[in-house]
Symmetry: C2
Subunit: 402 residues, 2 copies
């Protein structure tokens, strides 16, 4: 529990000052797995130091989920009043920090209870999510090096060594290896903002990705907006919901993607590895799909609904990003999406589109799907061009901004 205390204290400070940008007088609600209590205590200290009026922690226990699935007469009868109360608190301006932990290891025998529970839970979370979008309070995610995660990232290391290693990688990825990480994030956010602004000014019609095994034209949605780094809530608070973040990202045109592309890292889906992915697109649709491993799982993913086979996000990340340099597959989107230029199958983000009605958005190229699954295509051998009025401009050379 006491390993890396000073680093965890600085990590907590970063979460409060940069991740949440917690304001004096704000309430903070923390959702955290039981095993992350040491980090929770540091965050609580930092939150009160930053002027939090109240810090409420909801500890999650995977054993409690398993108990429900094993013994409940109806696993779908989930608590409704607590999420409603939390939503109420957000609408009154509370900030929210989620510390990520392991998923429960659910035996196959409990899969029908799991499905009932997941569906009910998802309905509650969707309602909460809708409220969150409306209230748009500042929030942030924070990773924690649990033994289960560490051993999946470093299967060849002993468990304690793996956990230590993963902590070091997490700290480096959020720039805690620098003396003044808060100042680093200020300039990092400015840089991401400048990149996104540049891309918004150019307002390219399409991007072209060109590299080994890849020659892909990704049309951009009409009225697409590039985002990156700190975002502003409706209440005017700038927060970094993702620590780390290295990407700028926008909305591809759901019907204007053509060519072929080879993934440069495995996709992690439902805890499984899908490696060696190659895809050919025609008019936005992934028409030919192959993978060296778990191809059927990929096919299942892309048929989750009618638009799961189209793109909902395109993101640019320099090959020199800290996470890319680590060379590690974290098997966690919060990290892996910051290692490389990437695409996502599935739904697009409304905040990456200029305002409009739903049908207007769809007509301009937004995509709607129940899935949103990132996969990495960038590398040190990738060139990226912006296309405007049929003229190509080189914007990344060998994986770096030009």
């Amino acid at each position: 529990m006491n390993t890396f205390s000073s680093e965890k204290q600085r990590y907590a400070e970063l979460a409060v000052k940069v991740g949440l940008n917690l304001q004096e007088g704000q309430q903070l609600i923390i959702q955290a797995p039981l095993e992350t209590v040491d980090l929770v205590r540091f965050v609580t200290d930092e939150a009160y130091k930053a002027g939090a009026s109240d810090v409420t922690v909801f500890y999650q226990d995977n054993e409690s989920v398993l108990s429900r699935l094993r013994y409940a007469k109806d696993a779908s009868l989930v608590n409704q009043w607590l999420p409603a109360g939390i939503a109420q608190a957000f609408s009154e301006g509370a900030a929210r920090l989620v510390i990520l932990g392991d998923s429960p290891n659910i035996p196959d025998a409990l899969s029908s209870a799991r499905q009932a529970y997941s569906a009910a839970n998802m309905a509650v979370l969707t309602e909460l999510g809708t409220l969150l979008k409306k209230t748009a309070s500042n929030w942030s995610l924070l990773a924690y090096a649990t033994p289960q995660w560490a051993s999946s990232v470093f299967p060849d290391l002993e468990i304690d060594v793996a956990v230590d290693r993963l902590w070091r990688e997490i700290f480096a990825s959020v720039r805690l290896d620098k003396r003044d990480a808060v100042a680093e994030w200020d300039s990092h956010n400015q840089e991401l903002f400048a990149r996104a602004s540049f891309m918004n000014e150019r307002n390219f019609d399409a991007l072209i990705f060109s590299g080994p095994g890849t020659e892909l034209s990704v049309g951009l949605a009409e009225g697409h907006i590039w985002k990156g780094g700190a975002k502003q809530t409706l209440t005017g608070i700038r927060c970094n919901s993702n620590l780390p973040t290295e990407e700028i990202f926008t909305t591809p045109h759901s019907h204007k993607v053509n060519g072929f592309v080879r993934a440069t890292k495995p996709m992690v889906y439902q805890g499984k590895i899908i490696s060696g992915i190659q895809v050919r697109f025609e008019d936005g649709v992934a028409v030919d799909v192959s993978a060296d491993e778990n191809q059927s799982l990929l096919e299942e993913l892309l048929t989750a609904d009618a638009s799961a086979c189209r793109l909902g996000e395109v993101a640019l990340v320099p090959h020199s990003s800290p996470i890319s340099k680590s060379g590690i597959l974290f098997k966690n989107t919060l990290f892996d999406e910051n290692a490389s230029c990437h695409l996502a199958f599935g739904g697009s983000y409304n905040h990456c589109m200029k305002p409009g009605t739903e049908s207007d958005h769809l007509q301009r190229g937004a995509n709607r799907s129940i899935i949103h699954q990132d996969w990495m295509i960038g590398s040190g051998a990738m060139d990226v061009y912006g296309v405007k009025d049929d003229v190509k401009y080189l914007i990344m050379k060998n994986g770096e901004w030009v």
Copy 2:
């Protein structure tokens, strides 16, 4: 964590079946210190097995309280929406289990923050308590042998030995040393109910306690009601809010207590021991008070308000009760009040009076005070008489029911 697992599982089962008498389809809200997670998991299992629709656990962390007192700009800004949500859940029929833990060790330097926090917290809890009384959902308290508590009960034992010993005493006190503890509680509840019914039928005017150093007449309030064992909620569920419980208890007359009495065990107040207590009463008031240790603390207690020096409860417990036989001072009222006949300074219970208006209750002998402090007066050398129309009837001889 894994010591006494099978006993803790049985303890959890007892809490669900006897303490709460949890009904099929009921929600359960558990409030528990972080360090009691092993017991919480057993209770969760047993609750779902008993048909709970949902089990929600709120883990408490003393470190979080200390963090607030150390760093918050205003320690009194406590969360309001969560207690309101919990109250809402109770009013909709949720059951409530509180697992008891240690109080935080608050340095003197933080005492002004502590006072601000305590006052604000008390206001929220009082509001919740009022709602709870109205909704009267089934609830129960459950003790947990924390190291801090164990070492205060057994200061001469090594910490692990002390914890083991305290667990054994807890299990014995709730009859888990018997093969079928649930059945034992059925007959125990019936016995307590029969004793209380007997005393209610007799409707004595007063009790006389007679033993070494004690010759005390305790007048009973007009319309007093004896209670004991399982109680019925407004929704008709019989629950044992206190595990263990050995007492039957009622309302003394606040103005009709006369004579002298010597306490047979120390009083524990604010974590301090007040030993060798002797009191002389005149017309309900403790007029002469002495103690071998911490007498000034006792005097402070009895001047907390104008009626703190009068009695609010009188309880009968046979000297042969399991807790009495253990000979241990648990320094915890949940246990110690079940070791011996006892009195309480301070406020009386409305449910121990026949219905009436507030002024009617006061006129009939009920007492109102901000304190309610139990102290033990029974022993194996104590005789107790009931007095009706100036006739004395022996009801306990040498500390046992006759």
